[in-house]
């Protein structure tokens, strides 16, 4: 009599295993299969094309009914196994049927993870796992309406694309900051998001689902931040876990999945397992290639051959038409690894190979995956690529060692993209003038178009356009790169952020072809500021790209403690504030209390853990952050002015307070210090400040570009104005122009020196319309900037910044 082989589950893995078994030992077993799904074996990988309407169920069947009959397999469709009796060597089904076995194979696959939020079991909330789910989705899509897909991984995005094809209005809600973060690095994740959004699918990253709302049926998805997304269909695609419950109840060794050895044998020698339900050497797989590897091994084992599964290197492709994405292996950075990056922004191509000892160990390809198979083969074979190294990244077909073009970012700009912000000149106007009038030099282009004729910060871009239009005969002046990560200068990066509407650090790094994968301590803080300045209220601050003082909102000291400086508007304080400061100093044992040069009080030697408590107490007395730690508005120093002083000509203290209330909270390229003196005796030292006001009988002298630091600079008198309102308008305009034009870490005097006083004067003094526009942009940005960072943190935000992850001192003392 033949041995009895019983298989629980009828997915792709056991199907492939049987093919192998029949090839080697066709008559060895009498086979019985129990399938909880009422179907034959079909290709689950192709569910997405079924959902999008590109394929039908019949086209994705792997083994039709005839195949089972031909191999004399007894297939029970729609029957679930409920129990395994290992002593009696039988299984029992939900229909009460008992089937004896000699060898048992468990292939129960995986179950989708349902996030435990209120409303998760409402009708209209689906998972994406089998054909029933797809049928339900296609049915729901007939009503059009809104769909929300929770999960921006492989399955979630395929579901979103399919529902979009079916005519639904789709939003993807993803917890992590970038899509498919397990398979893609942030650069490729950024490109993917852009592509998905181009299809009309909305993508919310960093979004946490709080609840699913609905009365008897799903109506909306509610997020942590209060957003409410209307939805008639919700698809949860946040991940899968091995379906090992049956094996666990039977007493088999189960961790995350059913633990199997290299022969796919469980802890019971007559019971095997394969597919997504198993855990092999600590890893549970969810992709088809490893499952097929396992199937081959188990097929041979059951046929009596020797075989061993040693784990798989996996590759991922997203099955959404029109999006080319490939990832394989390990692409983490480490000391002994090197990376080769190719970015072609014009074509939306990103390639990154991770090399170790002249072998490829990881690959991420986006936009052009034609060489994915080749790289993957080199990776699996562990091939030595030393010979190919120079041209490897260009792919298999690349022959010869030609160099690629320099950054194509400028070439790829549309004609309507603004190049010169000062004079409103777009790309098409510049290239058109060069061609039509036969211009050959920067000076000619400036004379004809006015591009780069004002502040000059777009000079590099204009020169590149001349070069692109004229070809090799034009040699532009050399621009110094921001840092080792890019050849583009600060000005070019700033202009391109605006022209190309780039709104995140990964976006900038991709579009501008950064040479490193995550930048450095020079470019990241600069980019973070440029993005804040370009997209107020829209850009999400990247705290990990800020220097520690701005991340902790306090100044680090040489011993690792911090100093705290609350704002004292215009240098004016009160008994109440002083009492609160004294109480805080006592309560937190603060060793030094010092008066600063900016007319306020510095608390030095505060332990980092104590910062939120110190701030809470200062907040309670009405004080907010003084930003003494930031590239930001610092102080507005004042003298007492006409209110007390016998020489005072205007209310300098009051004006200083008004200016500080107007400008505080603003992030700037470097620190900004202001002062208002009540008369030309200048007790507030206004003539060595970034912006200084000197009051006179007839009004106010408006000075800029002073400093009293490494370099001492006396201010330059920009103009004289008559009213306080004009002082405020000029201040806002100068602040904004500085924020828009300066290189990161240049003080105002350095910026003025670079762009020229004439350019600043022209835009602030002579062109009233431009001044008012700058002032209006500053006011708009301040709406988002004037939030007290201390109050947020005193109330618990960013708690991880201020507390140790663990304290082992007590445990150690006990030893």
């Amino acid at each position: 009599m033949r041995e009895r082989l019983v298989i629980i589950g009828n997915g792709m893995a056991p199907g492939r295993m049987l093919e192998k078994l029949f090839e080697l030992a066709p008559d060895r077993y009498q086979i019985t299969i129990f399938n909880a799904e009422p179907r034959v074996n079909y290709d689950r990988i192709m569910l997405s094309p079924v959902l999008s309407g590109e394929k039908k169920y019949e086209e994705i069947v792997i083994h039709g009914d005839g195949w089972y009959i031909g191999h004399e397999i007894m297939l029970h469709k729609g029957v679930r196994v409920t129990q395994i009796d290992r002593a009696a060597k039988t299984i029992t089904t939900n229909t009460g049927h008992v089937e004896p076995y000699d060898k048992l194979v468990i292939a129960t696959g995986s179950v989708p993870i349902i996030i435990p939020v209120p409303g998760a079991n409402l009708p209209g909330v689906l998972t994406y796992r089998d054909l029933d789910d797809v049928d339900a989705m296609i049915l729901a899509a007939k009503a059009r309406g809104n769909a929300v897909v929770i999960g921006g991984g492989l399955l979630g995005l395929e579901a979103a694309a399919g529902l979009n094809e079916q005519g639904m209005d789709v939003t993807v809600v993803h917890l992590m900051p970038t899509l498919m973060e397990r398979q893609l690095d942030p650069a490729a994740g950024y490109l993917l998001k852009k592509n998905i959004e181009e299809r009309g699918i909305k993508v919310l990253t960093g979004a946490n689902t709080k609840a699913i709302a609905g009365n008897g049926r799903v109506e909306a998805v509610e997020l942590d931040d209060g957003t409410r997304l209307p939805a008639s269909l919700v698809v949860m695609a946040v991940g899968i876990r091995p379906n090992a419950a049956l094996a666990k109840e039977a007493g088999l060794n189960v961790n995350r999945g059913i633990v199997v050895d290299d022969q796919m044998r469980s802890s019971d020698p007559d019971i095997f397992a394969l597919g997504e339900c198993v855990e092999h050497r600590g890893i549970a797989y969810g992709l088809v290639a490893p499952l097929y590897d396992m199937a081959g091994v188990l097929g041979r084992t059951l046929a009596g051959d020797e075989a061993a599964y040693r784990g798989s290197v996996t590759a991922t492709k997203l099955k959404v038409t029109g999006i080319d994405l490939f990832s394989a292996g390990d692409f983490a950075e480490a000391k002994d690894r090197e990376e080769v990056v190719l970015r072609d922004a014009a074509r939306g191509v990103y390639r990154r190979l991770v090399l170790k000892e002249n072998r490829i160990i990881g690959a991420v390809l986006y936009g052009d995956t034609s060489d994915g198979a080749w790289f993957f083969q080199l990776l699996r074979e562990g091939a030595d690529i030393a010979e190919l190294r120079e041209s490897l990244i260009f792919g298999q077909a690349f022959a010869g060692g030609g160099k690629l073009d320099p950054p194509a970012a400028v070439a790829a700009l549309p004609d309507a993209a603004e190049i010169c912000g000062c004079n409103g000149v777009c790309k098409g106007k510049i290239t058109g003038a060069i061609t039509a009038q036969g211009l050959t030099s920067l000076e000619q282009v400036r004379a004809v178009t006015k591009a780069s004729a004002s502040c000059g910060s777009c000079t590099g871009l204009v020169e590149q356009l001349i070069g692109l239009t004229l070809g090799g005969e034009y040699q532009p002046a050399e621009v110094k790169g921001m840092c080792g990560c890019t050849d583009l200068g600060h000005d070019e990066v700033r202009r391109l952020i605006v022209a190309k509407q780039m709104k995140s650090i990964p976006a900038v790094m991709q579009e501008l072809e950064w040479k490193t994968s995550c930048g450095c301590a020079k470019c990241r803080p600069a980019l973070n500021f440029y993005l804040i300045a370009s997209w107020p209220g829209e850009y999400v601050d990247d705290s990990q790209s800020r220097f520690i003082n701005e991340r902790a909102h306090a100044n680090i000291q040489k011993d690792g403690t911090y100093s705290v400086v609350p704002r004292m508007w215009g240098g004016v304080t009160s008994a109440k504030e002083l009492r609160a400061i004294a109480d805080v100093a006592d309560k937190y044992d603060i060793p030094t209390v010092k008066v600063t040069g900016g007319q306020r009080i510095d608390l030095l030697g505060v332990k980092k853990e104590d910062l939120p408590g110190v701030w809470a107490d200062l907040n309670a007395a009405g004080m907010v952050s003084g930003h003494a730690y930031g590239k930001a508005l610092r102080t507005v120093k004042t003298c007492v002015g006409s209110e007390w002083c016998r020489f005072g000509t205007q209310d300098s203290t009051g004006l200083g307070i008004r200016i500080e209330k107007f400008t505080w909270g603003s992030w700037t390229p470097h620190k900004v210090k202001l002062a208002v003196s009540g008369c030309p005796r200048n007790c507030a030292e206004a003539t060595v400040k970034d912006i200084g006001i000197v009051c006179v009988d007839s009004g106010y002298e408006f000075h800029i570009a002073g400093a009293a630091g490494l370099e001492v600079k006396q201010t330059i008198l920009l103009c004289k104005v008559a009213t306080e309102a004009e002082v405020l308008e000029h201040t806002g305009a100068v602040m904004q122009l500085y924020r828009e034009q300066a290189h990161y870490l240049d003080r105002i005097h350095k910026w003025v020196k670079r762009v020229g006083l004439d350019s600043v004067k022209q835009q602030i003094v002579e062109d009233g319309e431009r001044r008012r526009a700058l002032h209006a942009r500053f006011v708009a940005a301040q709406r988002y900037a004037q939030v007290d960072p201390w109050a947020q943190r005193a109330q618990g935000a960013f708690a991880h910044e201020f507390t140790p992850i663990a304290d082992l001192r007590i445990a150690q003392a006990a030893e």
């Binding site: 995350r256 292996g329 983490a332 950075e333 301590a521 690792g560 992850i805 663990a806 082992l808 150690q812």
Partner: protein
């Protein structure tokens, strides 16, 4: 994808005890958290791609707290004087010379395990 723990060759020493200090998500990407110990603070770093490293929280230059620096790739820039320290070896990069002690750390199913400092800090 491979979920292999971020283990390095030195970790396999027999007799090392591992102590759980928290979860991966407790540490910001491109950031660090501090573990207080009787022998001083330890900085545990998480890179962009979730590799973990641990160092004494002291720059070899002037003992600056490395946990407060900017993490780029697999190195950190000290917040006090911008020395760049390699996370894997603890060595100063470029022209600067000096080395900070490294401590073994690994990731197991989302849990961050540190080689028990009480025993290994000999």
């Amino acid at each position: 994808m491979s979920a292999a723990p971020a283990e390095r060759p030195g970790d396999a020493k027999p007799g090392v005890e591992w102590i759980e200090i928290g979860r991966l998500d407790d540490i910001p990407k491109r950031g660090a958290r501090v573990v207080k110990t009787a022998r001083g603070d330890i900085a545990v770093f998480r890179t962009m791609d979730d590799k973990l490293y641990a160092l004494d929280d002291k720059c070899p230059h002037k003992q600056g707290p490395l946990s407060q620096g900017i993490v780029q790739g697999t190195s950190v820039t000290c917040p006090l004087h911008n020395w760049v320290i390699d996370l894997a070896t603890g060595e100063a990069q470029g022209a600067d010379q000096g080395c900070t002690r490294t401590i073994a750390v690994k990731l197991e199913q989302g849990r961050v395990l540190l080689a028990w400092p009480g025993r290994t800090a000999a």
